[in-house]
């Protein structure tokens, strides 16, 4: 029994190391900057990164199968665009628009998954085409940004869910947390989730073991599509606008979050909670930068890269020395 517990812990070393580093970084920020050490700063991490978190959760599914989804940023933008366009220009109710947007995202993801699987084309290229298509569709709707004034959207944007101690959360943050919990349950406690891991471990083996490879693969990309669309909806709440240039490069942030969280891009190994940590790391770096407040544009980039570097290298070295 003890051996199993030890083995379990050993398997989670990367996760623990990442968490500890994250706390250290937060501590360093608190020492360095006034007002940094507060619950609200932590909650803001969640509020400001809710959409990234949701998108990264979808990306985790894909990466765990050994795939990649480059279309997420563009799908987020498309979701904001379609929402804004339908709500503002056609006066559709939010309750109709949101499910529709989610359905479009899911269907798009499923289609990409189907193409990837059926024609054995590399996911990179199919989802890159998906990215072009989704961005392109944004511009065909409108090259200008569309503001949303619809009351249900503004309500979602401005509602503050009070927490003890004068702190608050936004509805989007709550939705993101719900998504994380749901995804955790699916990945670790359902057949679908285990098939995802199996597929990432060895697709050929999964096939020979009689697992539903086609269904799993299509589902995974559909999940990513759904999460991107939902991320788009949350971003619409956050920005109250639809715009074709929203979320440019978000796919890289999402992939980075997943990988920082310890998931292998080759698939089969990783944790959803790691992804959550990854998102928090990226968010915290942003927060540190904005608290610093004196960095020029280029130093901003260099410092982001530098912090990322320190984080990744420490994470690797500590994990490795523990293993040995």
């Amino acid at each position: 029994m003890n051996a199993t517990v030890a083995a379990k812990l050993r398997a989670h070393v990367p996760l623990v190391v990442t968490a500890v580093l994250l706390v250290t970084m937060f501590g360093a920020g608190s020492v360095q900057y006034d007002g940094f050490f507060s619950g609200q700063v932590l909650l803001n991490l969640l509020i400001d990164n809710a959409f990234l978190l949701v998108v990264a959760v979808g990306m985790t599914f894909v990466v765990l199968t050994g795939g990649i989804d480059l279309s997420v940023g563009a799908v987020v933008a498309l979701a904001t665009m379609i929402s804004a366009w339908l709500v503002e220009k056609h006066h559709w109710p939010a309750l109709l628009v949101i499910p529709l947007v989610l359905a479009i995202g899911t269907a798009g993801g499923a289609l990409m998954g189907w193409i990837i699987h059926t024609f054995e084309i590399q996911p990179f290229i199919v989802t890159l085409a998906g990215m072009f298509l989704a961005r392109g569709l944004c511009y065909t709707i409108s090259v200008e940004s569309i503001s949303i004034t619809d009351s249900s959207y503004t309500a979602m944007a401005q509602t503050r869910i009070p927490l003890p101690g004068g702190m608050f959360l936004s509805p989007s943050a709550v939705i993101a947390v719900v998504v994380v919990v749901a995804a955790f349950v699916v990945l670790h406690h359902t057949r679908l989730g285990r098939n995802v891991y199996a597929l990432g471990g060895s697709e050929q083996s999964a096939l020979l073991m009689g697992l539903p490879v086609t269904r799993t693969k299509v589902t995974v990309y559909a999940v990513s599509g759904f999460c991107s669309a939902l991320g788009g909806v949350l971003l619409t709440f956050y920005m109250l606008s639809g715009y074709g240039l929203h979320a440019v490069g978000l796919e890289l942030d999402a992939i980075a979050a997943v990988v920082i969280g310890g998931t292998l891009l080759t698939g089969g190994s990783g944790y959803l909670l790691g992804t959550v940590l990854g998102v928090l790391v990226l968010g915290l770096i942003q927060t540190v930068i904005s608290f610093q407040g004196t960095l020029s544009s280029w130093w901003t980039r260099i410092v982001i890269g530098g912090l990322l570097f320190v984080f990744i290298v420490l994470q690797r070295l500590i994990t490795r020395s523990r293993r040995a």
Binding site: F119, Q122, I125, L128, L133, R301
Partner: protein, 348 residues
């Protein structure tokens, strides 16, 4: 002939080129103007040259199962450094100044590539994240070098690299052709290619046969950075200006796309330099086609998506057999067959 690995990428390229003729009748015409070759095909090669170079380095990285996102930043840094050096030199027009500028850019690229390589091979960071660090920070470094401005240089020898002509042909075409040949020679007439493919194909087995994977991997990232640096020199030399903010922006995506269209798998292993060159030319031709036939900017991306997915479908053997089967299936149903076997599609 259709079995050859390069057949389908080549066919796609040919189809794209032919599509242009419908819009511009003298598309294939190449003339000599002022002692220079002049024509759309030359333009494609000329503007495609940096992409070919970047994709060339990327191919070797991908062959080892890695990926290099930092090439765009390296492009910017190389151009910025060279132009800064030239613009601050007392005699920007002298060959000596330009040569030191080039050496400086290549030396820095070497260091950057080594940093990537060590992070991946020694520290064991996943390639995508290791190079993402330099992708983010490197762009900042480039902006730092140019101070966020565009550095304009007037230097005839520097302009030769990306914008000049040599023996009537654009020098950049000759340069990238030479680099491609050199790389082909380096990988295929030494054992380097085999060892790289082995490392990418099965890293565990490669260690057990005694391949020094760590070194090889570090080497390909250095090579990729050098290729990117030369591309950066070309891009900045072509417009006689260094743009730290935008030079090489998103070129990594194009380069990876070129490699993949060329038939190299992102999982590592077998690579094809010829395929990569074709892939890069497909991408460049696609841009030219968009300009030529006047696709409005709003729909450019939709058009690109359609072309990319078509290219991939055509290359997919599964797609082709499906098409073929659909055709024969029509025949069969027409002819009528004996009792078809029951399909064992037991549902869940």
């Amino acid at each position: 002939m259709t079995k050859h690995r390069l057949f389908w990428p080549a066919a796609v390229l040919a189809a794209l080129l032919l599509a242009n003729v419908a819009f511009t009748h003298d598309f294939f015409a190449i003339r000599i103007k002022d002692g220079h070759l002049y024509g759309s095909l030359i333009d494609i090669l000329h503007f495609g040259a940096p992409l070919i170079l970047v994709a060339l380095g990327m191919t070797l990285v991908i062959a080892t199962g890695g990926i290099d996102l930092s090439v765009g930043s390296t492009v910017a840094i190389a151009g910025a450094l060279a132009c800064l050096h030239i613009s601050e030199a007392p005699d920007p027009g002298s060959v000596g100044t330009v040569l030191t500028a080039v050496a400086l850019a290549l030396a820095v690229a070497l260091v950057l590539g080594l940093a990537n390589g060590l992070l991946v091979s020694r520290v064991g960071v996943q390639p995508i994240i290791a190079t993402l660090i330099l992708m983010v920070a490197g762009r900042g470094v480039a902006q730092l070098i140019t101070d966020g401005q565009i550095i304009t240089v007037t230097s005839a020898p520097y302009q030769l690299i990306g914008g000049g002509y040599w023996l009537t042909a654009p020098f950049s075409i000759l340069l990238s052709a030479a680099m491609v040949l050199l790389t082909a020679l380096l990988t295929r007439s030494t054992a380097l290619g085999l060892l790289l493919e082995s490392v990418g194909g099965n890293p565990v087995a490669s260690r057990l046969v005694g391949i020094r994977a760590t070194r090889l991997i570090a080497l390909v990232y250095v090579f990729s950075a050098l290729c990117a640096a030369v591309a950066g020199l070309m891009i900045s030399s072509n417009v006689s200006a260094a743009d730290g903010n935008n030079a090489g922006l998103w070129i990594e995506l194009d380069a990876i796309l070129a490699v993949v269209i060329g038939g190299t798998s992102l999982n590592g292993g077998r690579f094809s330099l010829g395929g990569t060159v074709l892939g890069a030319l497909v991408i460049q031709t696609l841009s030219t086609t968009i300009y030529t036939i006047g696709i409005p900017p709003e729909t450019t991306l939709v058009f690109k998506a359609v072309v990319v997915i078509t290219v991939c479908l055509i290359q997919s053997p599964q797609f082709r057999t499906r098409l073929a089967r659909r055709r024969t299936a029509h025949h069969r149903t027409a002819a009528g067959t004996a009792a078809a076997p029951a399909n064992l599609e037991v549902g869940a």
